[in-house]
Symmetry: C2
Subunit: 254 residues, 2 copies
DNA sequence: TGGGAAAAATTGGTACTACCAATTTGGACT
DNA sequence: AGTCCAAATTGGTAGTACCAATTTTTCCCA
């Protein structure tokens, strides 16, 4: 929003997206006509149309002859999460936590599937990632990258494509916004993480699904707590529902 | 694919999407120029550009001055799942099963969160949905709708927005393709479902998270088995990886 | 006065042209 | 071969014109 957008289409797109997400147009309401929008943004109708196609693909609007209408937010694509986090200067702690909860769920199940299928190669890959992380010392800038590579490997090796797509999408949108705010791990917490990772490694070696699950759970809980604290310190709000425009009144116009 | 697309943009979009998903362009490879595509589809460059914007929003391509390039499939949005299912006349049984597995995971956790938070109103809503289903008899065409309304209610009431977005997206894409193939529940299986739903209802009343979890798990397992059988009978393939174009060669061009 | 059908204005869909700026490509030169 | 520069290519934007579907308004008749 502060940086000038590289293209007019992107400008129109992100502005309209923001306006829809902030509820300036209520679900089912008509959007201004393309010609009006072109006039307002001082651009050609082509750029406006391209922006509308993008909104439509996100599931935020429906275009048809006679006019475009906005859709309810929870009918939208997962990809609106990022913009939703951008609505406030500091991402909403509750929403971030919900995302992490879903990620925890997915990674946990991925690990379970991995062990259940007994994919030797997959387990080996994941364990190698763990080893790579454990080899890093505090202050190493690659710590986060290594940590992410671990969960990514787990999701890849579990063989569940939808799971991978979801996790990738979530991670992308979160990372973009959270990277600068991620708490620098201090000695103590890094030690805790490493201990848990060591547990996880042992569980993987012993093909112990319950232990692995427990270690992963503790690991992500640690992450969630740290991140929530960091966000709240930064003055984050903590109420998802306040972000959403008008609770869907039953029976919106088709 | 069989039905003629309502607009030229949609035509170009779905055709290109199909070609990308079937691997006719390898990840990182350049797409034909907009002018070439316009020529090929016998349409104006505007329509082609709108289609490209949609592909870009899906995460399947990246456009920049100098040319558009296709991205790796697992960097795409969750919304490519539907088209991915369309690659074959009968949706791939394995992929569908993976989707259901994720849905099961989400609904299960939603139920857990619901009980954990002890939201009286939410629990009441869900129990009402259960009652509505139990009131229907075999052969009633609303059975499926009622069944879906149940899990939808659970996801809505659990208060986790990302979860709702994911589940909605998954369900939408699955339903569109699977609705005509959904197995008509016979007396016996309907009875089993109703018994499990009754269990679930009891668990909800008693705020018993473990029982609820178990009932839900059994319920979705039933669904998965039925659907997989139906798809395999219809001659579905059963190998997700065969669907994906070229396993991502490490280090694709930026 | 109310309802409904016809006419007018609006709107999205498509096509075509022209020009700019960034990138890519290919060849000339060192 | 390696480098650099210029030309061709490509995406981004602007503008116009027209069509077909939809919406809105108008007006007539019961």
């Amino acid at each position: 929003m502060s940086t000038p957008h590289p293209t007019r289409t992107e400008d129109v797109f992100s502005t309209l997206r923001h306006e829809v997400l902030t509820g300036q147009y209520r679900p089912g309401e008509r959007l201004p006509s393309e010609r009006e929008l072109a006039l307002r943004f001082e651009t050609g109708r082509g750029a406006v149309r391209e922006a509308l196609r993008k909104l439509e693909t996100l599931g935020l609007t429906k275009s048809a002859r006679g006019g475009s209408r906005v859709a309810a937010v929870d009918e939208a694509s997962l990809d609106v999460l990022g913009p939703l986090l951008d609505l406030q200067p500091v991402p909403d702690a509750e929403l971030v936590d919900q995302c992490l909860k879903v990620l925890e769920l997915l990674v946990g199940d991925a690990c379970d599937q991995l062990l259940a299928r007994g994919s030797e190669a997959g387990i080996a890959v994941v364990r190698e990632r763990i080893a790579q992380f454990l080899a890093l010392s505090a202050g190493n800038p690659n710590l986060l990258t290594a940590r992410l590579a671990l969960s990514q490997a787990m999701l890849r090796e579990c063989g569940n494509l939808p799971m991978r797509l979801i996790a990738n999408g979530l991670r992308m949108q979160l990372l973009e916004r959270l990277w600068p705010r991620l708490p620098e791990p201090d000695e103590a917490s890094l030690g805790a993480v490493k201990a848990l990772l060591w547990d996880l490694d042992q569980a993987l070696e012993g093909r112990n699904r319950r232990s692995a699950r427990r270690a992963l759970q503790a690991l992500t809980q640690l992450n969630r707590d740290h991140l929530r604290a960091a966000l709240c310190d930064a003055g984050a709000t903590c109420d998802v529902n306040a972000l959403l425009p008008t609770p869907p009144s039953r029976g919106l116009p088709s």
